[in-house]
């Protein structure tokens, strides 16, 4: 196979890559102008559908299919939300795209909006992404000036307005209905579905929510074609019914205990080991890897032995992880305590649970308290069974909560305990130094 040339990240090293001047000099917005003339919205939807593009936000839902869920012949308005609330820990691909090549993203957004005939797009950027927000804002302003946004884009009958929105820093705003609620000025409590956003979303109008990387892929599909997109990746596994395959390039974030934490663009289906050894230049300080996280902490943890599975939409599932997620690979070396890893993960979910559904609200904080107690040296053996059971109950049994946060909070706990049980048991048996108990904890431990 010929050496893979990055497409999505092609321009990030260019000087002033975020300005419309350099972007247009590199051939930007030509695809948009052409598409507005040559394609009908329906054709564009079919194009994306045929490409097999699946959402890059984590769940991997086929993008073209999602677009077809919009009610037919709706009088409008139809809204488009761009989910740039990239809050999954270890994930930074959207950030690089927005900061370094905002016009590529924006062109993808305009194309996607044209395909679904949206009249307004809300670009929801997480609070912490100041530079990305400013870059996108600048891009939107420049696009208005050049006539790529606004009334009758480039002489076509299609008009689109873009609204920048900055979140207030909550993980749950990355859930599509949570994002919509937040956009409406409410508490970001995910909605009960159905109705799905495509039927009734933002401001009770049909709404499509897509990830930044997804819309960037849409732009590339329009430019380079379906065949290019399908030339890489993993075809559907016939053993899995309704598998849509994992086509196209993917941005892999590599972080944690590697020599070279980085963001790389590669065809779908690369193995975790190759990512770490080749692109991350191996585990740092000459150590060995103990395990890793395939795609953001909510996907669960893998042991070093499982590093050879391909990172496509099916791969992580074969080793008991939830899925590919955001393809943000995090490595921890053999000197890392898995108890610390899990403690950190549980702390995150206990902090970020929105508090709407009982199992998640109480379960995440209970797990955090339990892991915290184990970490302080006061764990009991039965805690591991309880943790595993709570991890199972708060989301893995389908239907127990409204959104997927609980699911994501349960997987790493379940995974970590199943795959590293020995280490937890050794830790509990007093191999680690105990920290003193205080107050109530002391009273309860003495029972």
């Amino acid at each position: 196979m010929a050496k893979f040339e990055p497409v999505l990240l092609k321009r990030i090293a260019v000087d002033h890559s975020d300005s419309i001047g350099t972007y247009m000099a590199d051939g930007g917005y030509r695809g948009l102008t052409r598409a507005l003339k040559e394609y009908s919205p329906g054709q564009l939807v079919d194009l994306v559908k045929n490409s097999g593009l699946r959402g890059r936000g984590g769940a991997g839902f086929p993008t073209g299919l999602k677009w077809t869920f919009l009610p037919k012949d709706h009088p409008g308005p139809i809204y488009f939300c761009v989910n740039a609330d990239e809050s999954e820990p270890c994930t930074f691909n959207n950030r690089v795209l927005m900061e370094k090549d905002p016009h590529q993203v924006l062109e993808g957004i305009i194309l996607s909006c044209y395909a679904v005939q949206a009249s307004k797009v809300f670009i929801y950027v997480r609070y912490e992404y100041g530079p990305a927000y400013r870059a996108m804002e600048m891009a939107v302003r420049q696009a208005y000036e050049k006539g790529f946004l606004g009334k009758n884009i480039k002489g076509s009958p299609y008009s689109l307005d873009a609204v920048m929105h900055r979140g207030a820093a909550a993980y749950i705003c990355g859930e599509e209905t949570g994002l919509i609620e937040s956009l409406e000025g409410k508490r970001a409590w995910p909605r009960i579905k159905p109705p799905f956003p495509a039927v009734e979303g933002a401001f009770r109008k049909p709404t499509i929510v897509n990830n930044i990387e997804t819309v960037a892929c849409v732009k590339q599909i329009v430019d380079l074609g379906v065949d290019w997109f399908k030339s890489m990746g993993v075809p559907p596994n016939p053993a899995i019914p309704r598998d849509a395959g994992s086509y196209g390039p993917k941005l892999y974030c590599i972080s944690g205990h590697v020599q070279n934490p980085c963001l790389v663009e590669l065809p779908m289906g690369i193995t975790m080991r190759e990512l770490i050894d080749v692109h991350g230049q191996g585990v740092w300080k000459g150590r060995k890897a103990k395990g890793g996280i395939p795609g953001g902490i909510s996907m669960g943890v893998m042991t070093e032995k499982e590093f050879d599975i391909p990172l496509d939409f099916n791969g992580p599932g074969t080793v008991g992880c939830l899925g590919l997620g955001t393809a943000a690979v995090t490595v921890f070396d053999d000197q890392t305590s898995i108890v610390d890893v899990l403690y950190n993960i549980c702390r995150f979910f206990a902090h970020e649970s929105c508090g709407q559904c009982t199992p998640c609200r109480e379960g995440t904080s209970w797990m955090f308290k339990m892991v915290g107690r184990i970490r302080n040296g006061h764990g009991r053996k039965e805690d591991l069974n309880i943790l595993e059971e709570v991890g199972n109950q708060i989301g893995i049994m389908p239907g127990t909560t409204i959104c997927g946060l609980a699911d994501g909070a349960g997987w790493p706990v379940k995974n970590a305990i199943r795959k590293f049980r020995q280490e937890f048991e050794t830790y509990i048996q007093g191999g680690e130094s105990r920290k003193p108990l205080v107050g109530l904890q002391m009273a309860q431990a003495s029972h």
Binding site: A170, R187, W189, I192, A350, H351, E352, S353, C354, G355, Q356, C357, T358, P359, R361, E362, G363, T364, S365, W366, K369, M370, R373, R380, E382, I386, Q393, I394, M397, P398, G399, T400, T401, I402, G439, L440, Q441, Q444, A445, H447
Partner: protein, 545 residues
Amino acid sequence: MATVYINDKAVDIGDKRLNLVQVAELAGVTIPHYCYHPALSVVASCRMCLVELGEKTPDGSVQMQPRVVPACQTPAKDGAVVQTATSKSKTAQGQTLEALLLNHPLDCPVCDKAGECKLQDYSYQFGFAESRMVDEKNTPPNKPDLGPNINLFTDRCIMCSRCVRFTREISGTSELHIVNRGTHSEIDVFPGDPLNNKLATNVVDLCPVGALASKDFLYSHRVWNLKTVDSVCPGCSTGCSIHIDANKDVVYRLRPRENPLAQGYFMCDDGRLGYHYANSKNRLSAPKIRSGQEWKETGWKEIVSGIDNDLRAVAAVNPKGVLGVLSPFLTVEEGFLLAQYLKSLSKDARLALGPIPVTGEDDNYPKTRNGQPAKVQFTIRQEKCPNRKGIEAILQHFEGKIVHLRDSLQGEKAEAVFLTGGYPPSTQSWLEPNLAKGISKTPLIINQDLFENAVAGQSKYLLPAAAFAEKEGTFVNHAGLAQGIKRICSGPRKGRTDGQVYLDLLGRKGLLHAFSLHKEIASAVPCFAPLLTMGPQGVNLEKGS
């Protein structure tokens, strides 16, 4: 026609749009739920009502979904198969309960809600016997000043958000909201904007646990010692259906009773907290007769014959000089008996409608913060009496017209006035000075009231009246809905209910049983005919036949 199978029992729901909780109720199966309330929007967030759902295929086999679904959010469809007691749904429900109790203080011994708490009931029915939690519980601070009438025990809250939705959807005042996130979420108000709307205390009834407490009832009584009767709030002409909770002749609280024919699910704080006069020590407690300047307490036998003799003497000389004033706080039965008695003295005896207390204007809810009108869901009426319509119908029948006291006093001079009251102290000024002056000129005043009123000093007979919790009968609300009120307290020891006094005056034997008079009333006054079919939700006298 749609058939739903609840635990293998077929329920025909016709073409009604119901959710699974409602259908299960029809089948006699309880699906536990906290956040769901029929008057509020569905949020499906407590996850207590998780059940297994499947579908009956045409060939008769059943296909169950692998997931559990929240019953409150799932519409019932034809052929739906619901399993509420399988191990999967039981586990889901039990685990939700365990989660709810993780940070709950379990302080039932000092909690007002104990005994009627859904957390207790469901834990017993659906929960696990033990908690596996050994870690420290969250202890958020209590909020005693959530509102003038409401106290929040933050740690007991299970975040069902019913109260928040109530203030947004029913009262429309939006005082309550949720602060913080995750396990630290709390119900709160904005500084300077306390929960003080006139429907606020309904959140206490809505709260399935002991988090929101009514300051009026707090620590006053254990709920299992209370006795409850169905009644009607006497506070205004809306005539909210209520429960009266009392013990040992003391009323402890009023609660709204669900009644789609009357007010719906709720009641206002004016009515709810307006019962205290019934327990007042200042009430008239025994019948008194005046001789000169002296009051003499005396027995009812003497009083009844005294009144009868005095009235007959007046009626013999000047029949039109006898004036009966029927208060809108009398029940239909009492009004009927008194009118019957006075008319039996003389056909020319006059009857008048007592003053109708009116305060302000009708108060509609939900309020809207932007001033836009919303669909009215609840009204506190300006007319602060429960039975104007019922008494008017009585007057219409006996007098042929409705005469107000004011007009009666301007007409022929009254020689004897039988004045009935029953007005609570909040309408103390009901007997306006000019009316009082008009009445006090009368030589013979028979004055029956809860408290000493403006003409008490001029009365010859001063009789204690019965409060709403001490008598039975029928009230007719603003829309013509007749509802029964029942007795739960015995009232002052030396007192006698108004109806009993009239029955004695009529010379009829025995104790008053108001509802057995319905046949007599219905045949005498045709518009009361529907009373014969009155159920617990009442019956409308104006609609239909």
